[in-house]
Symmetry: C2
Subunit: 155 residues, 2 copies
DNA sequence: CCTCTGACTATTGTTTGCTGAAGTCAGACG
DNA sequence: CGTCTGACTTCAGCAAACAATAGTCAGAGG
């Protein structure tokens, strides 16, 4: 990765919450919060299912779902099954869906580098090929590490 | 995201460290560990620079760099500046470079959804266009959330 | 009205991540 | 030989994340 000249001295601007990576990690930076988002992508919507599938206590489930809802990644929506009362389910918002590249990139990295064979793959539903997460520019060109540059926002 | 039929009942397989996302979060799941990786992408290699730019104490810096090195994301390499003694620097390994999509995806998501304007953009060094992180299949097709499916690994 | 279920909340205690300050250690240089 | 610097390590302590258990609460069904 390259840095624009005036960013070379980065002791100043990287700290103190200026970095988007840092702010993102503040929201989904704990293990269970990220796993809750993973579950949301897997289609989980109910409180007890989040708790069981992530393997976290109800208290942790409650605080994580609340934090993710307040951050705008999940939305509470009332639903009703026949013969039961109205309940709330947690569904992904647009901002939540936007986090999918992060989760898929973690999945891909974990499959390649973190220990034993996972047993589960993420594939393109159409062609069955493995899903990869790549950086592209607006033109659609694939980028390598060296093609990426950090710049101060122009305006 | 879709799930293969035999994965529909996922109370079993999602827990107990079977998921690559979970294993990945075990390594870079803390805020400072991820920020240390961000710094490595920004070109930081020295102990004190990691500490200052991430904003973490030397103790935390030490344990994070050690953990990342043991996990194979960073590598210690001796270097020498004229007139000083030999020192070690921390450089990205191949596995470390592979994590770039995760960091870029967090950067992109944070820029769009996490609060104030970041002031810094990631762009394609060649054309200056913003970098996006997208899921693609091996054929290179861009995938939306609905195009992605989870399957049990065949062999 | 009582029970049952899904969805929580509250309490207690433990573990992990982190900070701040102080100390160590190797070797270049005066 | 003593100092200085970069790169750590050690220690004490705090705060957040988390687990385990128990309790609450709303409403449908009996």
């Amino acid at each position: 990765m390259k840095l624009e000249e005036r960013l070379q001295d980065r002791t100043q601007w990287t700290t103190a919450g200026r970095c988007p990576v840092e702010r993102a990690m503040g929201l989904v930076g704990s293990r269970n919060a990220m796993l809750a988002m993973r579950e949301a992508f897997y289609g989980t919507t109910r409180f007890d299912d989040f708790a069981e599938r992530v393997g976290m206590s109800p208290a942790t489930t409650s605080s994580n779902l609340k934090a993710l809802t307040e951050a705008g990644l999940l939305e509470r929506r009332p639903y009703r099954e026949a013969g039961t009362r109205t309940r709330d389910e947690y569904v992904l918002t647009e901002a939540g869906v936007d986090l999918m590249p992060v989760v898929l990139a973690l999945f891909a990295w974990g499959s390649r580098h973190a220990g034993e064979t996972p047993g589960v793959d993420v594939v393109h539903a159409g062609c069955g090929e493995a899903v990869e997460v790549r950086a592209t520019c607006a033109g659609g060109h694939q980028l390598e590490s060296d093609d990426v540059e950090l710049r101060v926002r122009s305006r």
